[in-house]
Symmetry: D2
Subunit: 380 residues, 4 copies
């Protein structure tokens, strides 16, 4: 089958690889109809991880069940399904408590597995015609038959739940104000999720005018940090007050104004300033324990200089970690079906799988409006 294969930094190709087969009775094979390129794929693409050539990318996958292991109970051939980017077993100490992003079974020696990602276990990615799904009863979310909402549902694999995760971690409640740092796909999904949860003012902080315009359109208040300290801007708008909650949808590659340079702790520092005492910071933005491309020795080891004295004085709560997609995907699916959420507004392009190399390049360079791309393997 055709698949997107990583070759070397800044180079992926679409080439033939072996078709996936059932390796375990609880597996299914899914024919992929939609598979997104994620910002975290770019970490590997840019050579900023230990990913080795030959890996098939793709952890945001949906499609149709075409083959089932004989232990699979509730799925059947032809089911339209979307899979969390996390691979979970469903029965370990973490999965049974809902922490499916930290499964202890699927990637021995580590808490958590994923498709098509370095160090996340033996699960080839789904930027391909087919993908193998382990513990399929647990990992497949069944969707209504047909083709409706395809792009919305595709986002249930990762970025809609991951954005929602930020709002959930921050315990955003109706009537609260929130500062969301980052208005890329995850950040915009976080702002959108805050609005779904009933937040009053949602401040969306970024420096890219197109992103800020999207934030404005969904009802958030855009804050351009190239135009001044975003904390001061927000506090000025609020008559001197801070906000109830904060979300970091940026992570370790945070930049200063004008993107002059990476300042890994800038978002956490700003959140500490702008969030009121007793507030909560939801942190879905990725931080890593090892970053060979880090700006200094500390950054390379995942060490951040944090205003912890101020955090303590304010009694802040910091909640971190990758999204446990299964905690949210069923409910977010139902919001889409009910017409109460339509996250696909964030999708900029849908292209055949064969155009993946071009899409990676443009997305990586943020040119031609490439902000969120869905690859369509069934379209070539």
């Amino acid at each position: 089958m055709k698949a997107v294969v990583y070759k070397e930094p800044f180079k992926v190709v679409v080439e033939n690889v072996d078709d996936p087969t059932l390796l375990h009775p609880n597996d299914v094979i899914v024919q992929v109809t939609s598979t997104c390129i994620c910002g975290s794929d770019l970490h590997m693409y840019e050579g900023r991880t230990a990913a080795q050539p030959g890996i098939v990318f793709g952890h945001e996958n949906m499609g149709t069940v075409v083959e089932l292991g004989n232990a699979v109970t509730t799925l059947k051939q032809g089911d339209r399904v979307v899979m969390p980017f996390n691979v979970g077993c469903g029965f370990c100490k973490n999965c049974e408590r809902g922490f499916t992003g930290f499964c202890l079974t699927v990637n021995p020696g580590f808490a958590g597995g994923a498709y098509g990602y370095v160090a996340m276990g033996p699960y080839p990615g789904g930027q391909a015609e087919y993908v193998r799904v382990p513990y399929a009863d647990f990992n497949c979310l069944v969707l209504p038959a047909g083709t409706e909402h395809e792009a919305d549902f595709a986002l249930l694999a990762d970025i809609f739940p991951t954005g929602y995760h930020g709002a959930y971690l921050a315990e955003v409640q109706p009537g609260e104000s929130v500062a969301v740092f980052g208005a890329g796909p995850v950040g915009i999904m976080a702002a959108y999720s805050c609005i779904i949860r009933g937040a009053t003012e949602v401040y969306s902080v970024d420096r890219v005018p197109e992103r800020l315009e999207v934030a404005r359109k969904i009802g958030a208040i855009p804050i351009n940090f190239d135009q001044g300290d975003p904390v001061e801007q927000i506090i000025a708008m609020r008559d001197g007050e801070g906000v109830d909650k904060g979300i970091d949808a940026v992570g370790y590659q945070a930049c200063g104004a004008q993107a002059a340079r990476e300042i890994p702790n800038t978002v956490l520092s700003d959140l500490t300033r702008v969030v009121n005492a007793t507030g909560i910071l939801g942190i879905p933005g990725l931080y890593v324990p090892s970053d060979p491309g880090g700006v200094d020795e500390n950054a390379k080891q995942g060490l951040l200089l944090m205003p912890f004295g101020k955090m303590f004085e304010k009694g802040l709560v910091l909640k971190t970690g990758q999204c446990n997609v299964k905690r949210y995907n069923r409910y977010l699916r139902d919001l889409i079906i009910a017409g109460k959420a339509k996250p696909s507004f964030v999708v900029s392009h849908e292209v055949p799988l064969s155009e993946a190399p071009m899409a990676y390049e443009k997305f990586d360079k943020r040119i031609d409006g490439y902000t969120k791309v869905i690859l369509k393997p069934t379209q070539g």
Copy 2:
């Protein structure tokens, strides 16, 4: 009246000051029967804060109501009461949600007030014969009449709730394992609280043999970090596993092995290593945004180098801040009355108020077994 007055670094005296008077109709005056010296008093005593000469120390106060403002509703003369170290109003946005340690009313411009503490508002301390208590209906917890449990109840002002706060923040549940860093008075109260909440293994990490012996006596597992990496010791005891939860009862003056030097981030780093993925860190140990005596430029500004990449990878939750005493003191009082908790085992000395200067000196030097001192103003 007599009171403990700060003069200069390493010098307090007991001298006459004006008696407190009712300044507001919701005030009461309490005749102090017990008032403890707190480890955080030593921060001021050592000149490591901006505290000015003349301040009366004492935020861990209990006694008898002797005079009442005319708006006070439920208290009456002769009531035996203990006051949280926090001063709260009871009706601001933070107090009404239970965050009484972050009151927005009593110390304008800051979230939180306390008695006898630098920058915590105009509330003279209770290391004195009398103390004024504002918003008395809210801030006084009524105790059974008499003298029973006096030392236990005195600890309800701060260290028993503050230790419990650590266990509460970490959401310690029956059947869980916990690593508690620090076995000083607050740390030992945190370990004790974990046991009250039904924890299985509670690892108590310190380097002072006497403290570790107390930990052992209450059923915790002592870990001496002078005898090797405490994380490795714990993990070895657990057949290679970490613990479910962690508590930092040390704070910013954390030391390395042999207490050779302050390493402000060492406890947070160790907790990140020893707590399992999906775990929670309860952090009652004090961190400050400004520490003139800090070991380096970052420490002086309350900036800590933290293993945030690893924290994120493990999906850890960090919960910080001073204790909201009122959230717990009523329940802890009832545990004492029912004979299910007897925290006074941590008290090393009870001395007349007049001996405060000696007690401060010995406690500061940790000599002659001075670990937790109660001053008794009614005894001279």
Copy 3:
């Protein structure tokens, strides 16, 4: 001053009564600008309670602070405020945990107080030119100066929070389905609150076409129980499935189809059938322990025949009780200010205080569209 005084069943008059005065240093006097008639006022109006002639009605009050006791801290003359219908002290065991509807101080011998209501303590109602507010720092919510949102803010005293309380008790989350029984003012506020909290399908069950039309307009799905078993209607719409959560906004005067007769347990029975196993029932609808007008001996004593075997089999949770308004009113106020909620769509009439007798009569008879009336004492 002028006030609405209860004379006998089905008779209220507007007559002169003594002006309220400050009885306690924590009191304020509020000049009433808006005060609503509540469905629960009709219980007294109809003589279905032990209310004695002479009582001044009115527990949904807002206005302007005109006089302050000398212990009041944060309010000032001229502040525009709205008061919860509950009277709370702010410092008892229940208030301090947020259960301000069950205050142990303000109505000795009972848990909970209110204005202008039988057996709820010595607090004359606010359907008058002025009203006394005890513990004013605690019980007044300050609003933006001016006259904007007057009708929306007036609903913060009771029905918006009470409706929200139903959704809060039922723990309605984004993506969930809910059946709300009752589309009167509280029921419609409950449905509205479910939508604010992100519910997908909200089924609004009633038999009055005008109410069902309002439900439809706000995005709920109307279910007319005169047209068939509402449970079967909902389940048919859901392809055989029940709903995640349920809200009873009807209470003890529930009627069967065609309103042929009162069937006090019909709503709870229906909810037990329509809510899925593991679901939660939020029950803000009033049930009383004594109802002289009850349909039978059991009803007179507040005893209901409930399908408890089925409730247990499904593992249902029932959460009851009057609304703790202060838990929500600050946040709901901010939703109104931000333009994210506009509950005044439920108000049918605003009339001068002098027209109260007519308004009571029409509201009681549900004629001329009287469904929710705001009295305006400053307009005569």
Copy 4:
């Protein structure tokens, strides 16, 4: 193999039945070493259910894995395991949220499955030499090898978690007072769990002196309702106050004083009286929607006359339903291993499987001290 087979009301025999075989790749076969008789087995034994002759009883099973389906991942031959009485799949909407007692997969058309129980799915009981365990990775809790704590671990299948469930539902916290109705095996486990969770006063209400003596020994306060109204007894002991929380560990076969007759609603009525306003009732005691042996027409249909007006006035919360064993068994296991819980004090007899008929008879008649029996199939 030998198994306990139900023949007719009041008659079980031990006879040969077919050995269980692997029916699904996720199954394992467990050789049973301990299997308890449960009070709910007596409902079937007494003919008070629709159970048909031929059913093999036994839902409280532990033993050794002897055969594994080829999809089982984490178990291996020889593992010592205990199984929740619930059968769950691990991946349905209810299991994934922790409601494993309400699995939607294993017993189609109903929420929840169990071993050896009428209407709970095709899962023969474990009062036999062997038992088949479906979804074995999910349903088996691995225990330390060996024979230590055998009786304690056996209780992890049902009554220890079920008692704990009562305390969990009631959200019992350190410092709270609780009334536990019923001091049979589940009730005593509930009282024990309250103590583990840090309750102060735990009132254990029953009429059997031996049970009350056990309650006293574990630190609860015995209340004999044959000696007077239990509510009045408790309130008198508390100087006129009620309790914070309540647990119903009795269920639908509740009796009045002297056990003169069944009064199905007596426990719920008493709890409503004795629990303070804002309290929570945890209800693990079984109520059924159909009881052919009920005392009247309502009881036969699972309808109870409840003091719902008073419940509402007090703002009580009622939480019902069978225990989701997997939510607790891992933690309770660890309490046993750590020596912090030893629930086997409740076991009265351990007998070979062959003596099951005698044990059923004596347990049913409550003679010779038969209160909790463990059958030992490996001992004959």
